[in-house]
């Protein structure tokens, strides 16, 4: 899986590409860890090319959101495919994470 992070001031665009599963989750966690320390980060996660997320991916999204909110920032996920959105819906994560 590829993770690209583009920054403009407080705004961060996280572009995900590929499958987020047990194999790729550790690398993803490593990539997003610096974002968890940023104050007032406004993060948009672009999921247009995210093919799948496992439970491990959900845990990491939630962890990222908790840190970002704690630091006074915001997190929005957008452009999800139907398959990825389905994972958020049937686990109730659509209720927790902002999806546009």
């Amino acid at each position: 899986m590829n993770v690209t992070i583009n920054q403009k001031g407080h705004a961060y665009e996280v572009v995900l590409e590929g499958r987020l599963d047990t194999t790729t989750a550790p690398k993803f966690q490593e990539d997003i860890t610096p974002l968890m320390q940023v104050s007032k980060a406004e993060i948009i996660v672009d999921c247009a090319k995210l093919e799948y997320t496992s439970s491990q991916g959900l845990r990491l999204f939630l962890m990222l959101q908790k840190s970002v909110l704690k630091n006074g920032g915001s997190l929005v996920m957008k452009n999800m495919s139907a398959a990825v959105k389905e994972v958020f819906d049937i686990t109730g994560f659509s209720n927790i994470i902002t999806i546009q």
């Binding site: 139907a82 049937i90 109730g92 999806i99």
Partner: protein, 372 residues
């Protein structure tokens, strides 16, 4: 330190002014100690106030006072307001509560402390605060090099936000006592003071009523008398605190041995009210009547996956979905439900379509109703 007498003060007052100048570091320390101790005390007792402030009387103000009534003071120590602190509360009943704490914190000079709240005459205007004259006790702070810190007195005012507004406006009129106020203005000022005092009392009364109401709701919820409890923000929050959907959540979690992430689904209140639910009893009925369908829905959706994490709000989400479909609500209504819970977006319509298809596969009964 020598200063020239530029204020027309007599020698006696000039000496008081000299002492005031020399003691500036002492008063600065007193100010810091008092502010710190006040904040620590309020924080320890979880009392929220609008402001805690302190100031040292300006030289101009002191000179003015000495020019007017300097003969009344033998030394600087006779002036009790060189350092002044103020606590501004939200509610009038908190003034008494804070006063009791201050009596423990500082040494109170009772003879010179005034409860101006009790000084009103029938024909007076006034709406004032509680003033304590205090000293910093040695147990609180002591510096052997500056014993004056425990000797000089300071004034501590405790008042509500409205009393503070009144005091400031009153000060702005330039009148310090009712006697000086022209008769034509006295009535209006008295009316205004009465209105503010009434507002202060009402705020306290309303807060007590809300607190009582919340206690009653918690009792009713804990005792399971749900039909007697109206559905609103307070009651729904109390209801969620007893984890009403835990059993269903655990049942759903057991499908994949999932971890449950706790989430308070307060956003569902609006939806439940929109569906016409009036009491917590109605929500209990939803849980009673639709838990099996909600479980079947979750089983169908999660059963074929390896997803082993769910949100605790999933149970209520699936209960609502089951209720909507089995009561004849259509695809459009379902999409509106998702929009109400998760916000507008391109996904809601497609998700509603999938759920309707799934309901057909599950052969859920539907009532032929038009909720248009």
């Amino acid at each position: 330190m020598e200063h020239s007498n530029t204020h027309g003060l007599d020698l006696h007052c000039q000496l008081i002014l000299e002492e005031y100048r020399d003691m500036q570091p002492v008063f600065a320390t007193m100010k810091e100690v008092v502010l710190t101790e006040l904040q620590k005390c309020l924080s320890r007792f979880n009392i929220l106030v609008t402001a805690v402030e302190a100031r040292i009387k300006s030289e101009d103000s002191l000179v003015g006072k000495l020019q007017l009534k300097g003969h009344k003071y033998r030394t600087l120590g006779d002036l009790t307001d060189i350092m002044g602190a103020r606590i501004i509360t939200f509610y009038s009943d908190e003034v008494d509560k804070i006063a009791a704490l201050m009596e423990d914190l500082f040494e109170i000079d009772r003879e010179n402390s005034v409860d101006k709240r009790k000084m009103h005459e029938l024909n007076s205007f006034g709406y004032m605060s509680l003033h304590y004259i205090c000293r910093i006790p040695r147990k609180l702070y002591h510096d052997p090099a500056h014993p004056e810190i425990n000797e000089y007195r300071f004034e501590l005012q405790m008042r509500t936000a409205l009393q503070h507004v009144w005091a400031n406006i009153n000060h702005d009129t330039g009148y310090k006592s009712g006697v000086e106020v022209p008769v034509e203005h006295l009535r209006n000022l008295t009316r205004l003071a009465g209105m503010l005092e009434l507002a202060d009392d009402e705020f306290s009364r309303i807060r007590r009523q809300i607190t009582d109401y919340r206690r009653r709701v918690q009792t009713l919820v804990s005792s399971g008398n749900f039909d007697e409890v109206g559905l609103n923000g307070d009651t729904f929050r109390s209801y969620l605190a007893i984890h009403p959907f835990e059993r269903l959540t655990n049942r759903i979690a057991a499908i994949n041995q999932a971890e449950v992430m706790q989430d308070a689904p307060l956003g569902y209140l609006k939806v439940l009210q929109g569906l016409g639910f009036k009491t917590l009893g109605d929500v209990e009925k939803l849980k009673h009547d639709y838990s099996e369908a909600a479980y079947q829905l979750a089983l169908h959706q999660l059963g074929g996956t390896d997803l082993d994490i769910i949100s605790s709000s999933l149970a209520l989400q699936d209960l609502c979905i089951a209720y909507l479909i089995q009561n004849g609500y259509g695809e459009k209504d379902l999409a509106q439900f998702f929009e109400a819970i998760q916000g507008p977006g391109p996904y809601n319509q497609a998700r509603a379509q999938r759920i309707i298809q799934l309901a057909a596969e599950l052969q859920w009964p539907t009532q032929q109703q038009n909720h248009g």
